[in-house]
């Protein structure tokens, strides 16, 4: 069976038991052995490996200081003399998923270490890193933590031992876009006709290739005359009127609010709240201009830098937004702004 594999486990501040959102700015650190879900990872590894250490970083710190964070985390990985890096699973947490992918990619590049990350397929980290990093699809639910870690451990051990892998769907990781030739029982012409006949019968078919996904709309042409332009502020950081009268959900948005700011020179913290489950809203609640810069836009309008500020702020709380819902919300806001003659938008996001 071979020597025990030395595993290092990357977690965010929450799973490493440093703290919750309020500790998002925690810098990189190390704890010996397995921590939190690392214990389930160790069980999954069984006699094949040990979690020799746990490295962690606050999600906000990583997002804001990626180079510095990676520098320190890679040094920790080197010190651990690990054979395998397991990162996450991050499920739907976007900052955490991006960090997991980035740590794995950097460690692979620097040390040639074997690395496996885990997160939901729709995580932003999956879009960015699936081609360069083996990512196990954990699904969105934390209830599947143990199952995800078992698949990550299984894949990690295979990779660490150089065992040849089967197809992504069989190994349980996201497709990386790698093509391998294989012999099929039937020639392609026959397979194509079989597929067509199945389609005509109304049977479900399994395409052999995935058509490429195209990204969203082309960017607008440059604004030609800022000093006469009507500019709007939009945010996905969860600004609402005091008391949240429209009962905007803190996450998984399906709608947006339209906050009138006619004659308001500033956002009084007593008249506004910030409702968003995806980040620590304390600082934005203290001063909403840290999220929506109404004061600055008023100044610039008064000085003639912009033509005018649009009198409505459209806002939603973007935590864990389903892509279809986010797209729909964006389209609806854009339609309203276009109808109002808005020529430029500043979107402020956490």
């Amino acid at each position: 069976m071979g020597a025990k594999i030395r595993v290092v486990h990357y977690l965010n501040q929450f799973f490493a038991q440093i703290g919750s959102e309020e500790k998002g700015d925690a810098g990189p650190g190390y704890k010996p052995g397995a921590v939190g879900p690392g214990r389930a990872l160790e069980q999954a590894l069984g006699a094949n490996g040990d979690v020799v250490g746990t490295i962690y970083c606050g999600d906000n710190y990583f997002a804001e200081h990626e180079e510095a964070a990676l520098g320190r985390l890679l040094r920790q990985i080197a010190d651990c003399q690990a054979d395998l890096l397991i990162a996450g699973p991050a499920f739907e947490s976007g900052r955490y998923g991006v960090a997991c992918g980035a740590v794995c990619q950097a460690a692979q590049a620097r040390f040639g270490i074997v690395a496996v990350a885990g997160m939901d397929e729709r995580n932003a980290g999956a879009a960015l890193f699936r081609k360069s990093v083996y990512i196990v699809d954990s699904g969105p639910s934390l209830a599947r933590m143990t199952a995800a870690l078992q698949r990550m451990a299984g894949l990690g051990l295979k990779l660490a031992r150089g065992t040849p892998l089967g197809k992504p769907e069989d190994e349980g990781h996201l497709a990386r876009g790698i093509k391998r030739n294989e012999f099929a029982a039937k020639p392609p012409a026959e397979r194509a006709v079989d597929m067509l006949l199945a389609k005509l019968r109304g049977d479900s078919i399994q395409p052999e290739i995935t058509p490429p996904q195209f990204t969203s709309a082309k960017p607008a042409p440059p604004l030609s005359d800022l000093s006469s332009a009507l500019i709007a502020l939009v945010t996905d950081g969860g600004l609402v009127a005091e008391g949240n009268p429209e009962k905007m959900a803190p996450g998984r948005p399906t709608r947006f609010t339209s906050i009138p700011v006619t004659n308001l020179e500033r956002l009084d913290p007593a008249a506004f709240d910030v409702v968003h489950s995806g980040y620590d809203t304390m600082l934005a609640n203290q001063d909403p201009h840290r999220l929506v810069p109404l004061d600055t836009m008023r100044e610039l309008a008064n000085e003639g830098v912009i033509g005018a500020l649009y009198e409505v702020i459209h806002a939603t709380g973007g935590a864990h937004a389903a892509v279809e819902n986010a797209t729909s919300i964006g389209r609806q806001i854009a339609a309203r702004l276009k109808a109002a003659g808005v020529q430029g938008v500043i979107l402020t996001s956490t």
Binding site: G24, A127, A284, D287, I346, L347, S349, T350
Partner: protein, 58 residues
């Protein structure tokens, strides 16, 4: 549209090409480490950058 955010690669991945760096995850258009007057100056500089990129080709 110009977007002020922290995770710029994510923004660009989904087609938000006029994305510029924010003051941080918890204070996109602020910097709570600065005194209030300096924070306002910081915000103004950031917004001017956003308005500038609105006028540029991407």
């Amino acid at each position: 549209m110009a977007q002020i955010c922290t995770m710029i690669p994510v923004a660009k991945e989904v087609g938000s090409l006029r994305a510029i760096a924010s003051g941080g995850i918890v204070s996109p258009t602020g910097n709570p480490e600065l005194a209030p007057e300096k924070e306002k100056e910081f915000r103004r500089e950031l917004i001017l950058r956003a308005l500038k990129i609105l006028q540029e080709e991407v």
